[in-house]
């Protein structure tokens, strides 16, 4: 690890700490607002604290429906993205072939270009091809931009798993399938799961593309967007916001721990 011999200058410490505080305080604020007794405005400090909005939210069928759709879309998109992303990463990292760079660019493009372009492009394609909106139109879009997350994770790991491991396995008598099952999969498994977790979080949270591909359906982010633009019951929105933060927290932490341990294992090969 590189580190300067002296400790950090005070100014740098303050700037870094302030930056981190800027990133986190707004999210913490969400937690306070979930308990406020104030119904009509965003008044600070909250006039009182209550748990009643949790019960109210619990009994709202529209929230449950939106949550259900979001989970379904995220799960299917993640599976598709994991398959496509892994295949692509394997191809790009195993061999040097003409057009490798182009493939990388193609995978990155759906998130490098603004989401609204992906969204309206899909919408206009559905329009031209007369495809009606359905859960599958949402999934089509989500899987497309989730591929890159799985791809990035897998490519990084493939790079670390030294190429001679595959040769060693074949040399010792394992055919292609056995090599995949006994050597490749165990070594990239955690990176794939981590990529999948992040893809899930990305899909679960996506709103920009979804507004163009959902038609009348409501995923949880679309439900929230509706509430932000035309608030009906602000405290319910507060509670949902807090739950969303907590729910996305888990896969992200899991992905972090998976790749951290995994890298130690894979890195110890040499």
């Amino acid at each position: 690890m590189r580190s300067d011999r002296s400790s950090a200058p005070l100014g740098l410490k303050i700037a870094a700490a302030a930056g981190l505080a800027f990133l986190h305080l707004p999210l913490l604020l969400i937690f306070v607002y979930a308990f406020t007794t104030e119904e009509r405005s965003y008044q600070w400090p909250p006039p009182g604290l209550t748990l009643q909005w949790f019960a109210v939210t619990w009994n709202r069928p529209d929230v449950w429906q939106a949550l259900g759709l979001s989970l379904k879309v995220a799960a299917i998109s993640t599976v598709i993205a994991m398959i496509l992303g892994t295949l692509c990463a394997a191809a790009v990292s195993r061999t040097k072939f003409f057009g490798r760079e182009t493939i990388s660019l193609l995978v990155i493009l759906p998130i490098a270009l603004p989401g609204i372009i992906t969204g309206i492009a899909l919408r206009s394609a559905f329009n031209l091809a007369d495809i009606p909106f359905s859960t599958w139109t949402i999934i089509l879009g989500h899987a497309t931009f989730c591929v890159v997350v799985v791809y990035n994770n897998a490519v990084a790991r493939f790079r670390r798993v030294s190429g001679s491991l595959v040769e060693a396995s074949m040399d010792l008598g394992a055919d292609g399938f056995q090599t995949f099952r006994h050597v490749i999969l165990p070594n990239i498994g955690t990176a794939l799961v981590a990529g999948g977790m992040l893809a899930f979080a990305l899909s679960f949270d996506e709103v920009i593309v979804t507004t163009f591909t959902a038609g009348q359906q409501q995923t949880l982010p679309i439900w929230m967007l509706e509430e932000l633009v035309r608030p009906r019951q602000r405290p319910v929105t507060n509670v949902v916001a807090m739950v969303v933060v907590l729910v996305t927290l888990l896969p992200i932490l899991a992905a972090y721990y998976l790749t951290r341990d995994g890298d130690q294992i894979a890195g110890s090969g040499k």
Partner: protein
């Protein structure tokens, strides 16, 4: 004597790069064979051709008399010790060693016993439960060796087996590998760029340059009678003498090689050649002198204890005609 591996006009071209170019080679059963050459000379590609990681673009490859060009690595009874060892990081030492038996469907108890025996053979008993990451470089290499030997290969390939070890470890390992090869009787083929290693370990050596085999022979043949300037230059520290020099003193217009220990310092007289000392290096057992002889650089080795002339001093040298080895290349 059976031929273990035979190359007949084998080429491996990568686009316009001729990594291996029309190579003929016979490796005999039970011998310790070295492929020596600078990096990029094609020796490693030859090893990978035997293992099956590469396929020849032309020529015939046979292993123990059977054609092998179309046989994938997992159907060749040939195993490799990789330069970076390529131990599976997710498996412990026992599972690494037993991997070959596992994919062949050998029962768990039996492969455990075989793995333990193989670890015993490479002097790492009791290390089975460790992970490759917890081993030193030398230990990893022993595991890699055990992992290859446990499959009882007909040919064992070693890619720069000692390259990553430090000097003392390397010397120990040289002796051990040689002893192991003698006791097991397996054909060993190893790749190295270190001529000392090749000379001390191998029964026979093939010297590679630019995708071609320059010379095949015993260490002594290669060392004493190199057939080309390249071999003389690359193997050992022979003096390479140009045709005009050789013509003046021996009469034939040919390239020649002369080992430094054959050069003697003598008093002025008939047959003696005038020289100037330009450098001297004390090497413990011997002293190496750098001499300027008629505009050519010639190295000489003096035994310890002999008086060493100072730099810049004029001296005279001579050598026995028999020690001068004329090479095939004409002037």
């Amino acid at each position: 004597m059976t031929t273990a591996v035979a190359f007949e006009k084998i080429s491996r071209h990568f686009g316009t790069v001729k990594a291996v170019d029309a190579v003929d080679l016979d490796i005999r059963e039970g011998e310790f064979f070295a492929m020596l050459g600078p990096s990029g000379s094609g020796k490693t590609t030859c090893l990978r051709l035997i293992a099956g990681f590469e396929r020849p673009t032309a020529g015939r490859l046979s292993i123990f008399g059977e054609r092998a060009e179309d046989v994938p690595p997992y159907r060749r009874n040939v195993n490799t010790v990789f330069q970076d060892y390529a131990l599976f990081p997710h498996l412990n030492v026992t599972d690494n060693v037993a991997y070959g038996l596992m994919v062949k469907g050998v029962a768990k108890e039996e492969r455990r016993r075989a793995a333990d025996a193989a670890l015993e053979l490479v002097k790492l008993p009791g290390y089975g439960a460790r992970r490759p990451g917890q081993l030193s470089g030398g230990q990893r290499q022993r595991v890699a060796l055990a992992r290859a030997l446990v499959n009882r290969p007909k040919v064992l390939l070693l890619d720069e087996p000692l390259g990553a070890l430090d000097l003392k470890l390397r010397e120990n390992m040289q002796e051990e590998l040689k002893a192991l090869q003698k006791s097991l009787g397996i054909t060993f083929v190893f790749v190295t760029h270190d001529q000392g290693e090749a000379l001390s370990m191998a029964d026979r050596i093939a010297v590679f340059d630019h995708g071609k085999v320059k010379q095949v022979g015993t260490p002594e043949e290669i060392y004493k009678t190199p057939n080309s300037r390249f071999v003389a230059d690359f193997v050992g520290s022979s003096n390479v003498l140009p045709p005009d020099f050789v013509e003046r003193h021996v009469g034939e217009k040919r390239w020649a090689s002369l080992r430094p220990e054959s050069v003697r310092l003598v008093a002025e007289g008939p047959g003696a050649i005038a020289a100037t000392v330009i450098s001297s290096a004390y090497l413990g057992g011997t002293t190496r002198l750098g001499l300027d002889v008629e505009g050519h650089r010639i190295n000489a080795v003096l035994p310890a204890g002999e008086p060493c002339p100072a730099d810049g001093k004029p001296v005279h040298i001579s050598f026995a005609r028999d020690d001068l080895h004329l090479m095939d290349e004409a002037g």
